[in-house]
Assembly symmetry: C2
Homo-oligomer: 157 residues x 2
């Protein structure tokens, strides 16, 4: 019988292994269903030139590929560090049941990662963000949304 600590140890192990191999930052994650590890992942931002390739996004994509579904309901995520805002969003969209994390966002900030700074952007009104966001509405945009509502064969997610 594997415990939560056993699973977390594996996530942390991956964070070290792939960092040492030069694949990316020191982050690892696994997705577990019952007692089975469905998928393993690690950060690959710099080796794949993909700023979205954080361990959590990598492992969510891989677990979904394996089970052939865009929902991970019934599964749990173990991640070596508290998820950044992008990964937190991905976790909600993937409908995971529970998240275990080891290091915190403050630990990540202390070694030079922007997670905490990006979290702070979320608490600001759009006009106060460090990155300019410009609202440019078009009537066509509203029409496409209306079309989605009327689409009889749409697949909700």
């Amino acid at each position: 019988m594997k415990t939560a600590e056993n699973f977390m140890r594996r996530a942390v192990e991956l964070s070290g292994e792939y960092m040492r191999a030069g694949l990316g930052g020191p982050f690892g994650a696994i997705i577990v269903r019952g007692q089975e590890i469905l998928a393993e992942g690690s950060n690959r931002v710099t080796s794949t030139n993909d700023p979205t390739a954080h361990a959590e996004v990598v492992v969510i994509r891989e677990a979904c590929r394996r089970i052939g579904s865009f929902s991970l309901a019934g599964c749990e995520l173990y991640t070596s560090c508290e998820p950044c805002p992008m990964c937190l969003g991905a976790i909600y969209w993937s409908r995971l049941d529970r998240v275990y994390y080891a290091n915190t966002r403050e630990d990540a900030a202390a070694i030079g990662f922007d997670d905490d700074a990006i979290y702070r952007e979320f608490t600001k009104p759009i006009s106060g963000r460090s990155l300019p966001f410009i609202h440019l509405p078009l009537p066509e945009g509203q029409r496409v949304f209306k079309e989605w509502v009327d689409k009889s064969d749409r697949i909700p997610y």
Copy 2:
């Protein structure tokens, strides 16, 4: 000379085209550098079984692939709808200069998308979230972070 409105029109056009083709939700995005469209993307969640395949993530990954870099500094994003929290995080990580959006998160909520509900989760303390997050620190996790700091050939991102 193309205007911001021209570029937005293309993003909205993609949102409709790919939705009608059954690829996913009604969302499209493009990345522009100067007057050039670097990449185009659309939502593909349901057709690729990838809950992270929102238009913005798709187009960021594609633009990075094309230019061979994990940074999109100097580029701008046009998206048919205000980015969800996952995409907002991805936008910060990719170092884009500016974001233009047409429909709003309220428009998305009105046609059944969870963006707004997920944004509200970000304003809560971890213990108050609808999804359980469990802190399970391990000494090994701290050691890996220390190793990153000491790694002479690390690539920051």
